[in-house]
């Protein structure tokens, strides 16, 4: 087959202009493929970072506690309807045990319990309604990335400390080290010291949230030893529905993946991915049609040669091999050239974490470069099959006469 490779190589080399054009066409399609993959992937990553970066991928909570139905006296008929989630959950007891259970599920990367309650923050005459969240010290930034967002103080929660958003701090005239009182809906109060001020860029969290150590939250909300939910981050964001289903089936707990809480974002990402896929498929179709038509012309032009090769002992398989190999070589050369071009053109783009407004979020790591080269070579090989089969089936007598 070495000889067939030599023949294919000579054919390509004998028409350098045509070969260069074909390779350039394939390279352009591969560039589009890689660029679209990098852009769609980068865009998705940026969206996920910006919107889901501070959210759990899966939230595990205690199942709703149904309200009891009042049973009517014998002989009476009533019509009753049960509304979901009308009863406040007491939360999960023994969270440490649940954490150990959840850690055993494959794909779970981060586990962070939280206890949520509501009340107001009071400083002098000014009060602001807030959602109070208790976090485990040492795991404050496990879900919400406080450490990247601090404008003053520290994200680490010490006993008696509280983290608040920049807007809330401004509204209450607070700065790090100042004292503030939290009064829960149940009437309990606690005095806290501002240990850090953050800016997440998320309205609710910046304006109406306060984060305290878990023990302080459990005390003021009267939920000793309990948590509202255990939040998880996964290795693969898109595995959330499957992981959630497995946890729910195994534990009987109320498990919610981010795809339910942010269904519209999930749909948007999926639609974006599908759009990219369509564009990539069209790029591949262009490669296949371009190579097939060019090789059709080549085989037509070489009919006489094919006839003479057949006369001197070239089998149909040999002819097929030569022309298929020509297609594969064009695909491989175009794939490599397109990949090199893409790497050169896309490397200057900043990493997704450093993308500024107005910049294209291109992530070369998601460019599927290997896949693009492989698919192009495969596509070109398949594209060459049709003209190669036509060449192999040529009647040598007719071919020689022409």
């Amino acid at each position: 087959m070495l000889y067939g490779a030599k023949m294919a190589w000579r054919h390509l080399g004998s028409a350098p202009g045509q070969t260069a054009l074909l390779v350039a066409g394939v390279a352009a399609a591969v560039f589009i493929f890689i660029f679209m993959s990098a852009l769609i992937g980068g865009l998705a990553e940026l969206l996920v970072n910006r919107t889901l970066g501070n959210q759990a991928h899966v939230t595990v909570a205690a199942p709703d506690r149904p309200l009891p139905l009042l049973v009517p006296a014998q002989g009476r008929h009533i019509l009753a309807a049960r509304q979901a989630s009308t009863s406040p959950s007491l939360g999960l007891a023994a969270p440490r045990a649940w954490e150990a259970t959840l850690a055993a599920f494959p794909g779970v990367r981060v586990i962070a319990p939280k206890l949520v309650g509501s009340g107001v923050l009071i400083r002098g005459e000014v009060t602001r309604p807030v959602t109070l969240t208790g976090l485990e010290p040492g795991r404050e930034s496990a879900i919400i990335r406080f450490e990247r967002s601090m404008v003053a103080g520290t994200a680490a929660l010490a006993a008696g400390g509280v983290l608040i958003g920049e807007t809330l701090a401004r509204d209450l005239g607070l700065s790090v080290g100042r004292a503030v009182t939290f009064r829960a809906d149940n009437g309990n109060s606690v005095t806290l010291t501002v240990s850090g001020i953050y800016r997440l860029g998320l309205g609710q969290l910046d304006e109406a949230a306060a984060f305290v150590p878990m023990s302080a939250a459990q005390a003021v909300l009267e939920r000793p030893g309990r948590v509202s939910a255990i939040e998880l981050k996964l290795d693969d964001l898109y595995a959330a529905p499957a992981v959630a289903a497995r946890i729910a089936a195994a534990t009987g707990l109320d498990v919610t993946p981010w795809t339910e809480t942010s269904a519209q974002l999930f749909e948007a990402l999926r639609a974006q991915g599908n759009t990219g896929l369509i564009l990539k498929v069209f790029a591949m179709i262009t490669v296949v049609i371009g190579i097939a038509s060019a090789l059709m012309l080549t085989t037509f032009r070489r009919r006489g040669e094919i006839g003479i090769m057949r006369a001197f002992g070239a089998t149909r398989r040999f002819i097929l091999y030569v022309f298929v190999l020509e297609g594969a070589l064009i695909g491989l050369a175009g794939g490599l050239a397109g990949a090199l071009l893409a790497v050169a053109a896309l490397s200057p783009f900043p990493p997704i974490e450093e993308v500024q407004p107005g910049q294209l979020p291109v992530d070369l790591g998601q460019g599927s470069i290997g896949l693009a080269i492989w698919l192009t070579t495969l596509g070109a090989t398949l594209a060459a099959l049709l003209p190669a089969r036509a060449a192999a089936r040529l009647d040598p007598v007719e071919a020689i006469q022409q």
Binding site: Y3, K6, R10, S14, R316
Partner: protein
């Protein structure tokens, strides 16, 4: 007497079907002995090229039998015929039909390389010797497109000899050459025939070329009209 190199019996060839059918060969029988140099003479449309293609296993007869070196090739499959052709038959065509992207030496090596899957050193040496035999040693590394008409035809003859075939079929080998080159080519074929004992079947309508052969077979309207051996 030894068995003929090639023999065809009652060969018919019909193109098309029904009312449009064309009966090109109408029961041709012919045997070529070892070392013979046969001229196949006939006008255009006489069935000369069709017979040559069938003898060369490039086309199949509609009916009849084709035997070469004692092997019945009538019903052989394409791969068998291809291999048989490669080993035992050489071709020289009117329009040279060299591979344009290959050098003279590579063209001569083709029948060997396509069988072996690579260009062996042994084959390279034989191809060089054949090019020397046809007087083209100094053109060995020239591309086919850089050769003159006469040179191309001599390269084609060297290529036909590459695998040491028992029979060479030449279709109007001098038809595209001037008189001087035509005679040189015929001298070359006659010399090879004498020295190697290779049989030749040369299709021509040139009486002078036919006169250089030891046997004249005339085909007319799809049948053998005459078959004469020259007096020795």
């Amino acid at each position: 007497m030894s068995a003929p190199v090639l023999e065809v019996r009652e060969v018919h060839k019909v193109y098309g079907e029904g009312a449009t059918a064309t009966h090109v060969l109408k029961g041709v029988s012919l045997a070529i002995d070892r070392g013979e140099m046969v001229a196949l003479i006939g006008a255009s449309g006489s069935g000369k090229s069709t017979l040559l293609n069938i003898l060369g296993t490039l086309a199949r007869p509609t009916s009849g039998q084709v035997t070469m070196l004692g092997e019945d090739l009538t019903r052989a499959d394409d791969d068998t015929l291809t291999e048989f052709r490669n080993r035992h038959i050489g071709f020289v065509f009117q329009f040279h039909h060299l591979l344009p992207d290959f050098t003279a030496l590579e063209n001569v090596m083709f029948p060997s390389a396509v069988r072996a899957g690579r260009e062996r050193a042994q084959a390279r040496a034989r191809a060089a010797a054949l090019l020397a035999q046809v007087g083209l040693s100094e053109r060995a590394d020239f591309r086919a497109t850089q050769l003159s008409g006469g040179q191309k035809q001599r390269v084609a003859i060297a290529r036909a000899l590459m695998n040491g075939p028992e029979l060479i079929l030449a279709d109007e080998p001098t038809g595209n050459l001037d008189r001087q080159n035509a005679m040189q080519v015929m001298d070359l074929l006659a010399r090879i025939n004498r020295e190697s004992g290779t049989s030749f079947l040369i299709s021509t309508h040139d009486e002078e070329i036919a006169a250089r052969c030891s046997r004249r077979v005339v085909i007319s309207d799809g049948v053998i009209a005459a078959d004469k051996r020259a007096a020795r």
